[in-house]
């Protein structure tokens, strides 16, 4: 496990636009940053919810897409070489005896840092769960929301629910290892890539998979072992026999373990002051959509401002002996050297 232990100045939880810009502001003040995000790629909501939708209210950028903004921020922070820990969730936060904070993720990455910056937006992106009675009893044994190892599904009678890329990709990819494969979707149209849709249709035509136009209604089985899923089709309810259900209905945001970090919360938001954007625990900051203060606006540009002020206070914790020198990137050869442009 030793290769998974890191020590740094600042750990930022959440690699959305505000978390990414925090790397820049911290970097200008000589602080090194590690970022943690539950998604497999940086960008947060911008990349996950609206990668192709236009954003018009970033100062100086009349229009850009969520993905454009993410890409530009990554380019902007590149000189500071942040370390990303993606596809993992910050699970615990404790204070070590040496005064440093220690963040541990759900897959065992340990990061010691002088300051912690929570930039977790609306929380962790987690799979949307269908509202089916007794669902939790089957999760992990018969019901899944992702495929980590295809081998796990060898020889299974699989039902996949959904109509997007995840649902269709896994229908096509798991078909060869499954004992039987069925796909259920609410309509006979699919949002997935046309090529994948064609492959799925071909498999349906050849009898390789069953396609059901219906909606999930009830899980049938006992003690975590699924035997069938009852669905509602246009002609009524019927059962689809299966021992495995893979549900792909996109992601939703849940606050998650941040609620147990020991900082004050108010209606799932983290109250901060508006001078330092620090929580009620010194050394822990909250910026972006997850914080709250009088007059708060959930705008990306507000998060950028918060990142700049947070960094001033973070500097005082990381370099208590140094005097903070306020400089402009336009005129400071020192900052320009950090940015690699002089």
């Amino acid at each position: 496990m030793s290769e998974n232990i890191f020590s740094t100045d600042a750990v930022v939880i959440g690699a959305g636009p505000v978390g990414l810009f925090a790397v820049f502001e911290l970097g200008l003040l000589d602080m090194e940053t590690h970022l943690i995000d539950i998604l497999d790629a940086p960008g947060g909501q911008c990349a996950e919810l609206y990668p192709e939708k236009p954003i018009y209210d970033i100062p100086g950028i009349p229009v850009c897409s969520g993905q454009d903004l993410t890409d530009k921020l990554l380019e902007q922070i590149q000189p500071f070489k942040p370390t990303f820990h993606l596809g993992q969730m910050a699970e615990s936060l404790i204070k070590r005896e040496n005064g440093k904070w220690q963040v541990t993720t759900d897959i065992g990455t340990v990061i010691d840092a002088t300051v912690v910056v929570i930039a977790a937006g609306g929380g962790s992106f987690v799979p949307k769960k269908p509202p089916l009675r007794g669902l939790d009893e089957y999760e992990g044994s018969s019901v899944f929301y992702s495929v980590r190892k295809m081998e796990q599904f060898r020889g299974k009678n699989i039902l996949i629910a959904g109509g997007g890329d995840s649902a269709l990709d896994w229908t096509v990819n798991l078909h060869p290892v499954a004992k039987s494969m069925a796909l259920v979707h609410r309509r006979d149209e699919f949002r997935a890539a046309p090529d994948t849709v064609n492959k799925m249709r071909a498999l349906v035509d050849s009898g390789g998979i069953d396609l059901h136009i219906a909606q999930l209604k009830e899980l049938k089985g006992a003690e975590g072992k699924l035997q069938a899923v009852s669905v509602k089709g246009s002609t009524g309810d019927y059962n689809i026999p299966c021992d495995t259900l893979l549900a792909f209905f996109g992601l939703t945001m849940k606050l998650g373990p941040v609620a147990d970090f020991g900082i004050s919360l108010n209606q799932n938001l983290i109250p901060v002051d508006t001078e330092k954007f620090e929580t009620d625990v010194p050394g822990i900051f909250a910026i972006g959509d997850i914080n709250h203060y009088p007059g708060k606006l959930k705008l990306i540009l507000s998060g950028f401002h918060e990142a700049a002020l947070m960094s001033q206070q973070a500097f005082r914790y990381v370099y208590p002996e140094r005097r903070l020198r306020f400089q402009y990137t336009t005129s400071s050869s020192d900052l320009q050297a950090k940015l690699g442009v002089s």
Partner: protein, 102 residues
């Protein structure tokens, strides 16, 4: 103008309608539990409502994007709409909707 919103406990709320606002915004600002995670950009399906039968035909038809996004909601009915895609106008004075299950 007003709209009537039935919450998940079956309680009906009368909310003032404001011309040009999204129905989602009216519901959210009333403090009713509607997630609307993407902020009204038709990108998440967490503002799903059922529209009272009498009102379905008075609404603008669903766009392709809304139909696609409804794939990410549950318990879809013919009356299902994403409330961020419904704009308040005089013609919708009295609109009745029910919050879909989460």
């Amino acid at each position: 103008m007003k709209i009537f919103v039935t919450d998940r406990q079956g309680v009906e709320h009368e909310i003032a309608g404001i011309d040009g606002w999204q129905i989602m915004e009216l519901i959210r600002d009333e403090g009713l539990p509607i997630k609307a995670e993407c902020g009204g950009s038709c990108a998440c399906a967490t503002c799903h409502v059922y529209v009272d039968r009498a009102w379905i035909d008075k609404l603008e038809e669903k766009g392709e994007e809304e139909i696609d996004m409804l794939d990410l909601a549950f318990d879809i009915q013919d009356s299902s709409r994403l409330s961020c895609q419904l704009t308040m106008t005089e013609a919708l004075d009295g609109l009745k909707v029910t919050l879909a299950p989460e």
